[in-house]
Amino acid sequence: MAESALDNVATVHVEKKASKLAAFAKFRELGLLIFIILLCIFVQTRNSSFLTIGNLTDMITNTAILSILALGMMLVIITRGIDLSIGSTLALSGMIVAQTVSVYQGLHPIVAILIGIGIGLVCGVTIGFFVSKIGVLPIIATLAMMNIFRGLTFTVSNGQWVSSYQMPDSFVSIATSKILGINTLVFIAIVIYIIGFYFVNHTRTGRQIYAVGSNPESAKVSGINQTKILLMVYSIMGGLAGLSGVLWVAKFASAQGDTAAGYELTVIAACILGGVSIAGGSGKISGVILGAILLGILNNSLPLMNVSPFWQMAIQGSIILFAVILNALVKRGVERNNLLRRKI
């Protein structure tokens, strides 16, 4: 009896430790927020120009495009997939739209945006077709498409840039104008997030995305059309990437063959930081926003702290690895907790 009492003490102790990890899982958004605030304070003490209106505006507009893409990537990752092609899709749509507006100077910006979305959709549907209908692994399909789209971008542009002087003012103003007193880019991102929030939380189709990722077998029994969901998810991702292409080109006022090369990795990092599980089935809009903001702040503040820009990539890689490993450890803690609860 005495022995088992001792046992119990030990068990309780371990249980506490494990439940701390489990509690962390619940408050991950709060933790991220606190981390962001601490980071801001730290950066501010290093360089007082960080928390100025000018810098903040710049930072937020930069984060707008990242967060739009992260939303689409979240959906893809929830279905247990990944999309490496979005940087190329973005470049292709940006390039074609930039060329179009440089020829048809009078084109309305909204038409330009629609063209961009259309191009992105075509790219996304193509990937969705290979992943959902043929069953090619997402990593392979999007790796191939990433290069096909990038190659097409170079081919379309013939290696030439489209520079700011070739673009009509109305087009460039997409990035500088304001709607209701908010920068248009930020406004678009907010609208997309509101729609996205409604879609994933308040429609059946939105919830089915989670169901497919959480347990594909059960989803089949519940009569969810997996092919349709996958096709849709990659199409949305493509459409958002196409839109981002137009915004990107307008913001930086240039379209190049290598626009946004490697940007998909930043987007994936934002999702992982935001708590989207690469095993599928879970991920929250709020988390993804925070993840995107955190990366946006990091990218903005490193130069302010006199960190060489060449450190940026290494830091990003470490963050991704750190975040996925932390996620895995948290999950293990939860599972261990469940095992300890079992009575023998």
Binding site: R204, R207, S214, S222, S277, G281, V334, R336, L339, I344
Partner: protein, 503 residues
């Protein structure tokens, strides 16, 4: 209209090489709790899958409310009001309780298609409260205990307005108190007009709940009785007392010196306090209900699932086993339960399968000697009598029994002292069973120590020298060959849970 809501007549279901159900009958009255009993592998699970439309039967008919029906997929069964709560819970761990309850029949606003969360949460709460449970509908399914998840599954069945609810071993993973809760819920379901098929190993479940009991054995229908009209003894005989078609070989050889001593072995969440001794030439049977921790103990001995408490001594020396390779070097071999997943590489030929554990012996500085390999494979495949044309025949083309022989041949490649067999005759036809028993006895006669896990009581009794019965992660009782009976095993494996909970 007949008094039965559901009738199944002459259901036969064949899988390649196995007849899983052989002319089975079943009649379910409206508003009754009907227990379906039988040993592991008696065909209960397949039977449920036929009712729920997962499998289509080869022969026989199904009559629902007096009308003949046929399902081609599980959704059709759901639509006519049949719901099943499976042994291994199938749900969405990352979604909330409410969503799990309403998946596939969410409440939405007619025009906009907006999900009515408030209404769904409220309805979920109401459903759960009607099951006298205070689970938070907004909690994640994955964070609930197994018992709670089962209650959610029941709520789901109610929310679909199921009139026939099938529960497959719902009490298997529950404590005594949780089981009592479940009994109450089940009774209230019945009182509200549902008919329930309750599948269980436990007699207490049946006596507590059911008014009618149907017994299956060896894929066949044995009979159906009113619970108060059949004695416990008769029921046990119905469940286990098969006709003697199986001949168990005579024991050859002698039991020798002490080979393995296990002391206080434990692994958090799986088993605890496992102590036993195994001698050369001895066959130790390990039995108990599924989920009692038998496989986990043996996988710990083999290093698949390293133990975290206790000691193992081999030949008087203390050893540590953390990986299958270490176990094999110490002379422990393990024949896994699931041949197809754990035992064989199905896409490979017989020969390559047999030599996989022995590659080191067949190689010289890492180079593989294929001639030597083919010779060894042929020799061992012939030794265990695999029915095939060449050692290049694919493992996937063999019958269950022959696949098992190949798996046994794999063990024979190594210099072993101890052989652990996990359900060696599961899914094997009668002819091959005898061959496998012969092999086991030959092994013991040659001085191996054998541990055999089995759920088939006649087999455990017929083959073992000594039997350890496990219950809930502990060894409940040791029985010697002389004083073992099926009743004694059943009693040790199933005795009232509250007793063990008190200790």
């Amino acid at each position: 209209m007949s008094e039965y809501v559901l009738e199944l007549k002459g259901i036969t279901k064949k899988f390649p090489g196995v007849t899983a159900l052989d002319n089975v009958h079943f009649k379910l009255k409206s508003g009754e709790i009907h227990a379906l009993m039988g040993e592991n592998g008696a065909g209960k699970s397949t039977f449920i899958k036929v009712i729920t439309g997962v499998h289509g039967p080869n022969e026989g008919e199904m009559i629902l409310h007096g009308q003949k029906i046929q399902f081609t997929n599980p959704r059709q069964a759901q639509e006519v009001g049949i719901a099943a709560i499976y042994q291994h819970v199938t749900n969405y761990p990352d979604l909330t309780v409410t969503e799990n309850i309403f998946m596939g029949h969410e409440k939405v606003q007619k025009i906009t298609g907006r999900i009515l969360w408030k209404e769904m949460h409220a309805e979920a709460k109401r459903l759960l409260q009607s099951l006298s449970s205070n689970i938070d509908p907004k909690a994640l399914m994955g964070s609930l205990s197994v018992a709670q998840q089962q209650i959610v599954e029941i709520a789901k069945a109610i929310s679909t307005n199921a009139k026939i609810i099938i529960m497959d071993e719902p009490t298997a993973a529950l404590t005594a108190r949780e089981s009592e809760e479940l009994y109450k819920i089940t009774e209230s379901l019945r009182d509200n007009g549902a008919s329930i098929i309750f599948i269980s190993h436990r007699f207490e479940d049946m006596y507590r709940l059911a008014s009618q009991v149907t017994v299956l054995r060896d894929s066949k229908y044995i009979g159906s009785w009113k619970v108060n009209e059949i004695s416990n003894e008769d029921l046990i005989v119905a469940m286990v007392g098969r006709e003697i078609t199986q001949i168990y070989p005579e024991k050859k050889g002698q039991i020798g010196e002490k080979l393995l001593h296990v002391d206080g072995l434990g692994k958090t969440g799986y088993f605890a306090d496992i102590s036993f001794t195994l001698h050369r030439g001895e066959i130790l049977g390990l039995t108990g209900l599924v989920g009692a921790g038998r496989t986990e103990v043996c996988q710990s001995l083999f290093g698949i699932m390293p133990y975290d408490k206790g000691d193992i001594q081999m030949n008087g020396k203390k050893v540590r086993i953390q990986s299958p390779k270490e176990a094999m070097q110490l002379g422990i071999g393990y024949l896994p339960e699931d041949r197809q997943l754990q035992g064989l590489v199905l896409q490979w030929g017989i020969g390559k399968n047999i030599t996989l554990p022995a590659l080191k012996k067949l190689g010289k500085k890492g180079w593989l000697n294929e001639k030597k390999e083919a010779k060894l494979a042929k020799q061992l495949a012939e030794k265990v009598n695999v029915k095939a044309n060449s050692i290049y025949d694919l493992a996937s083309s063999l019958s269950g029994g022959n696949q098992q022989k190949v798996a046994v041949a794999k063990l024979l490649t190594a210099d072993l002292d101890i052989i652990i067999l996990d359900e060696p005759t599961k899914g094997v036809d009668v002819g091959s069973k005898t061959a496998i028993y012969e092999i086991i006895h030959d092994l013991a006669a040659q001085g191996y120590g054998v541990i055999m896990i089995s759920s088939e009581m006649p087999e455990v009794i017929g083959v073992s020298d000594r039997i350890a019965v496990m219950r809930e992660g502990r060894i409940a009782r040791f029985l010697n060959k002389e004083d073992v009976t099926q009743e004694a095993i059943l009693e040790a494996a199933m005795t009232d849970l509250s007793k063990s909970n008190a200790g």
